[in-house]
């Protein structure tokens, strides 16, 4: 670890730029996430929210800039190495293994036996089973362990994918629209879930549902055209005239 790096931030994104054929989806973006913070990124369509998550988790390579996580540079690392470093990513549409059961979905995400031979000789021991059950309870799916994931409701699929991240015990969780398609009751439960797990994890959430954002956000970053438009508490951001104009106003 580089001793000169600011150690107080879990994640420091600095000068991040990515250009797709000249179009800068993210343009000289900088922001910092603290330990145990829930950060919500909001912004109009095309603001570059999902692209920022893609850049952090290695799915897209930045053109310029740096992403430091626990003092470690993530740009240039491969996707699975970034996961091993402690970054988990949930996709916008629930991305789970439909043909496998809830138990198997969680088990595959358990951070052991991640190479070829490790997977061949992986044993489903008590440690795995306990951890799977523990996570299943957190995500309200304890009674569905043997259910094939394909037949879960949309909201349950979203929870399952969150559970698949939790079981990896990442230091940073990135959730892309975790409550999209959920009922009001499910949204409330999800907010509770996020507030529970926050005790030793940081979370970056992209969300459009302002009620949900108010329930969970410690701080909000508003993106517009690939740049930070405003940042701060929900209250401050909500009354920022620039934000009202481009996003919240309509």
């Amino acid at each position: 670890m580089d001793p000169s790096a600011p150690a107080d931030f879990l994640l420091s994104v600095e000068g991040l730029t990515v250009s797709f054929d000249g179009f800068k989806a993210v343009n000289d973006l900088s922001f910092y996430v603290d330990e145990n913070e829930i950060r919500v990124i909001i912004g109009p369509n095309g603001a570059g929210k999902t692209t920022v998550l893609d850049l952090i988790c290695g799915r897209t390579r930045p053109t310029e800039g740096s992403i430091r996580f626990k003092g470690q540079e993530l740009t240039g690392m491969r996707e699975h190495e970034i996961v091993h470093a402690g970054v988990g990513r949930k996709f916008q549409n629930p991305s789970i293994y439909e043909d496998l059961t809830v138990f198997e979905n969680l088990e595959l995400s358990f951070p052991r036996g991640r190479n070829v031979f490790g997977a061949l000789f992986f044993r489903r021991d008590a440690e795995v089973r306990d951890r799977v059950e523990e996570v299943a309870e957190m995500i309200f799916l304890k009674d569905h362990l043997d259910t094939e994931a394909a037949i879960l409701s949309h909201g349950q699929k979203q929870w399952l994918e969150i559970g698949m991240l939790l079981i990896q015990s990442p230091k940073l969780l990135m959730l892309d629209e975790p409550v999209a398609g959920m009922s009001i009751a499910e949204r409330v439960k999800t907010a509770e879930l996020l507030n529970t797990i926050i005790r030793n994890q940081s979370v970056i959430v992209i969300e459009h549902d302002m009620k949900f954002v108010e329930d969970i956000a410690h701080r909000v970053t508003v993106l517009h055209q690939g740049k930070v438009l405003s940042e701060g508490t929900m209250d401050r951001v909500k009354h920022d005239p620039k934000v009202v104009e481009v996003y919240l106003g309509h």
Partner: protein
Amino acid sequence: MTSDTQLFKPREWVALAILAAIILIVIPIGVDTFRLNLVGKYLTYAFVAIGLVLCWGLGGILSLGQGIFFGLGGYCMAMFLKLEASTPEATKIQSTPGIPDFMDWNQITELPFWWQPFHSLSFTLVAIVAVPAIFAYIIGAAMFKRRVGGVYFAIITQAVAAILTILIIGQQGYTGGVNGITDLRTLLGWDIRTDDAKTVLYFVNAVLLIACLVAAQFVRVSKFGRLLVAMRDREDRVRFSGYDVANFKIFIFCLAAAFSAIGGAMFTLQVGFMSPSFVGIVPSIEMVIFCAVGGRMSLFGAVYGALLVNFAKTTFSESFPELWLFAMGGLFIAVVMAFPNGLAGVFRDHVEPALLKLAQRLPLWRAGGVPLSSSAK
């Protein structure tokens, strides 16, 4: 839930026992040596089909080039047998005695250096598995590390199969060209052309097949097997769960190649020659059809598929040689349109429930017979 990690579930033990009984007892008793040898030949394709179940059925990696590996395994075996058949005494009428006849016909006067190690049986046995596996590793690493997949991968494997065929045919002096490597006689002095030898080889083949089946089952029920299914459905999710997806694909592709190669080597031993007609595009596609007809998700289905389609091919082409290709095309269309899970799917959805119903009427079974459930795919 915990029983998922057992190698075979009770009903699969039954399936394994039935399969073993059929190929080790029923068929050897029921048919003459000529037919037994034919069945042995069919079973060599079952090795390929088993590999395809892992690779394609579970992992979603469709290879249209398994003939490459079947052929490489077969050629390695054939090279050893050919060298043994080409002693200076046996080939003394040639202008260069002691080299394979086709080399002599092509004015080659010295055994090429890469043929030399095939004087050794132990080297050959290693090469049969290692050469195709290494070749599969090279193709796999080149494709999967670059995230080439799906139909592009299928096309590339097919192109490689075509290239290899052209190469073998073109390098006649080194490979025997379009005729292949023929006139194989003995294995360490043991004549492989006699009826007795054919019977012995049939059993060796059958036992190897069951061993490969068990090995494939081990992979299928391990976490690796579930990861294959997961990669087929959600490759990105697997990658972002901390797995290096390419390595898993390369491994399973190499394993399928190794299985195919064992089949190829046994083919050479039982049929007595190896030629490019078992390497190229057409045989490779046929191998996929064996697997599809049997059921691409079922290891047992793959074996039955290879057996039945080949049996049909022989019977059909004995009576209506021109019609076979149409029949096979029709069969493939029928499988894709009506039975996407092949014979195994038909069995699981229709035959097994009927059997269960029947079994429940018999008091003997109700008292705790074999727990038949349809949990295995």
